[in-house]
């Protein structure tokens, strides 16, 4: 299992478009992927779940990867967060 903390960098936060991209990225991998914000845990492969998060610019989230290809998945997804969802 891999845990990573990420910060939302773009101005608009984790809105509809990045949520869609995120879910698409996660769906490529076999491992489980969860996003944790405070006490809320959502399945990162469920877009409707991700959309219930209120992740604004500056919010910190914890990403949890668990499964055989967790290494690759965490690398690609953390990078997407660090690029500010390509909106910087």
């Amino acid at each position: 299992m891999i845990l990573k903390e990420v910060t939302i960098l773009n101005r608009a936060g984790l809105h509809t478009r990045p949520a869609a991209v995120l879910v698409k990225l996660a769906s490529k991998y076999k491992c489980d992927f969860y996003i944790i914000q405070d006490e809320i845990v959502v399945n990162g492969k469920s877009i409707i779940g991700v959309m219930t998060l209120c992740a604004e610019q500056g919010s910190k989230l914890i990403l949890k990867f668990d499964g055989e290809d967790e290494e690759e998945a965490s690398k690609e997804i953390v990078e997407y967060f660090n690029r500010g969802f390509d909106e910087l």
């Binding site: 101005r11 608009a12 936060g13 809105h15 509809t16 478009r17 949520a19 869609a20 879910v23 698409k24 399945n43 492969k45 469920s46 877009i47 409707i48 779940g49 959309m51 219930t52 209120c54 610019q57 500056g58």
Partner: protein
């Protein structure tokens, strides 16, 4: 144009209703009230589990097909980014967790498909509607729209989006999909009872260049199909029963706006890039709120400088908090999602009406700008409060004028943070990440930029005052006017020093002085490292045209030559040569 002006024109039956100006433009035309069928969820019991599961699959497939059509259409009419909004909706229809839970509901609880869809969506919707965050609520509405889409398809109903004539579409709530699909017809404007500025509908209407006013509760009950109304997408107004005078007024507005727009149109949607592909951001300087529509039409990417002192001059004294909020919200909402930079009052002591006459021997070196505001902390605080309260759309920045030392910035920032804390304690919402910046217009501050970078997020260079203070010349004084050299070698070197000092600190540097609006100076400024220019709206298209035709690399070479020049005339010679080369015969007009 002001609200008062319109009120004066109105007839006895005319009714003016204020909403939120969501997309700029004007329209006069017949009303088309778009009422969605109310979708009723039929009883919970299922026929047979197999039947319900099959119906679900059918409805999901059909909904996907519909959405794909919307995506295709928005790719064609809009862009990839906007289409992305609908792509997300499509992915929701394929969400494995969601679909699984709906199926489970059908199988285990023996509910009908409609009922199961409704129940499972509601779980998410309830979670989302717990907050008072506008964005989240809008998002919930969109998700609800997807729910209705599936249920409508379960009930095997079709959606109508064909209109008979050019109309103003009025609805309780317009979903993004409605907005895009209606555009296949000739829509003059969109009006909705619900929705805010940040809703996707508003964003789409702006992208489609269709005026829109949203957020007028109870409007539909006051309207009749086919009756003419006026939509003012700049001021967020709906005018019912417009009389001749009002119609005349708006026909004139529409005419003026279309003339100006035509001139601006060809370039307004072109991204401002140099020939060698470097993006240069062109923003506008705004003095009065009625310049906003033209600045937007010119293709401005935000406001680099809003001079709040004009509110002071118009009123003759400091505007109160409410008046300020009204002005700042007007600005920030109309430019949304682009950034607007609000500069705190830049006034000199001689302009304040105190009981006793206040005279300074040297007003330009006297009590003005941030010095004055720090001595009147109540006024500064009120202004900070108004700016913060207006920052709800997260596109507002605050900027201090006439900063000469680090202490001033620290002191002002303390007051700013204190104001934030108080607002927070009172539960008033604002953008917690609001950017804080300063004007660089007094030479001393150029030499403190490194230390300052800890306290600020951006700087904007005011070249007029910077030149005046650097050269110790009052440019309003005819006798010494010759000595005011806007291309003095020292100024060019200082301008370079600023970008050099800030190069590593990730602090955005823009330039908002007159120099940025001078066509001749633009290549030099680019070469000196300025990639954000805030200019006068009417010059913006010209400046953009120039930038599209030059290379940053050549600008850099030009800047090196100018930095090595020892007189203004030498610099001007280089600048003229450069412009000549790129503009050919058009040179005379400069």
């Amino acid at each position: 144009m002001s609200f008062d002006e319109i009120i004066k024109l109105k007839g006895p039956d005319t009714k003016i209703i204020e909403g939120i100006a969501a997309a700029p433009g004007y329209a006069i035309g017949p009303v088309f009230i778009y009422q969605k069928e109310i979708i009723e969820i039929y009883p919970a019991v299922s026929l047979t589990t197999d039947y319900e599961l099959e119906a679900l699959d059918f409805a999901l497939e059909r909904s996907k097909k519909e959405l794909k059509k919307v995506i295709e259409f928005s790719r064609e009419k809009l862009n990839e980014r906007m289409a992305g909004i609908f792509e997300a909706h499509l992915i929701i229809l394929e969400d494995p967790m969601l679909i699984e839970s709906i199926r489970k509901n059908i199988i285990e609880d023996r509910h009908s498909a409609e009922y199961s869809v409704d129940v499972e969506f509601k779980k998410y919707l309830q979670q989302m509607r717990k907050t008072d965050d506008q964005l989240m609520l809008e998002r919930a509405n969109e998700i609800e729209d997807i729910k209705f889409r599936i249920i409508r398809n379960l009930q095997r109903k079709r959606w109508e989006s064909k209109l008979r004539q050019s109309v103003i579409v009025v609805a309780k709530n317009l979903t993004p999909a409605d907005t895009v699909l209606f555009t296949r017809n000739d829509v003059l404007a969109y009006v909705s009872e619900m929705g805010g500025l940040t809703s996707h509908t508003a964003i789409l209407a702006r992208a489609l260049n269709i005026p829109a006013v949203v957020g007028i509760r109870g409007l539909i009950n006051q309207l009749e199909n086919d009756k003419t109304i006026v939509v003012d997408g700049f001021n967020g107004l709906i005018i019912i029963n417009p009389n001749e005078e009002i119609l005349e007024y708006y026909k004139n507005k529409i005419h003026q706006y279309s003339l100006r727009k035509k001139k601006y149109e060809e370039l307004s949607n072109v991204i401002c890039k140099t020939k060698d592909n470097h993006h240069i951001k062109l923003m506008s300087n705004i003095d009065f709120l009625d310049e906003i529509p033209f600045a937007i039409a010119s293709g401005s990417e935000g406001v680099g400088l809003f001079r709040t002192e004009n509110l002071f001059f118009q009123k003759g004294t400091f505007p109160n908090e409410t008046e300020q909020i009204e002005a700042y919200l007007d600005l920030s909402s109309k430019f949304y999602p682009n950034v607007v930079t609000i500069r705190t009052f830049d006034i000199g002591g001689d302009k304040i009406n105190f009981n006793e006459q206040y005279n300074e021997t040297n007003p330009f070196l006297g009590w003005r700008g941030i010095r004055l505001l720090l001595d009147l902390p109540e006024i500064l605080k009120t202004q900070f409060r108004a700016i913060l309260i207006s920052s709800v759309y997260k596109n507002v920045r605050v900027m201090l004028p006439m900063v000469s030392s680090l202490d001033e910035v620290i002191k002002a920032k303390e007051i700013f943070n204190e104001t934030k804390k108080e607002l927070k304690a009172n539960g008033i919402k604002f953008d917690e990440n609001i950017k804080f910046g300063i004007m660089v217009e007094i030479p001393s501050i150029v030499y403190c930029l490194k230390e300052l970078s800890k306290y600020i997020d951006f700087v904007s260079v005011g070249t007029n005052d910077l030149t005046q203070y650097l050269l110790a010349v009052d440019r309003g004084n005819e006798k010494v006017f010759k000595s005011y050299q806007e291309f003095h070698p020292a100024l060019i070197r200082v301008l370079r020093l600023i970008t050099k000092e800030l190069y590593r600190s990730k602090i955005e540097v823009s330039i908002c002085g007159e120099l940025a609006s001078n066509l001749k100076a633009v290549p030099l400024l680019l070469g000196l490292g300025y990639n954000v220019l805030s200019v006068n709206e009417y010059l913006l298209p010209e400046i953009k045209k120039l930038i599209l035709n030059i290379k940053l690399n050549d600008c850099k070479k030009l800047a090196v030559k100018c930095l090595n020049s020892s007189t203004q005339s030498e610099i001007i010679k280089y600048l003229d040569e450069f412009i000549k080369k790129y503009k050919g015969e058009n040179n005379e007009s400069l």
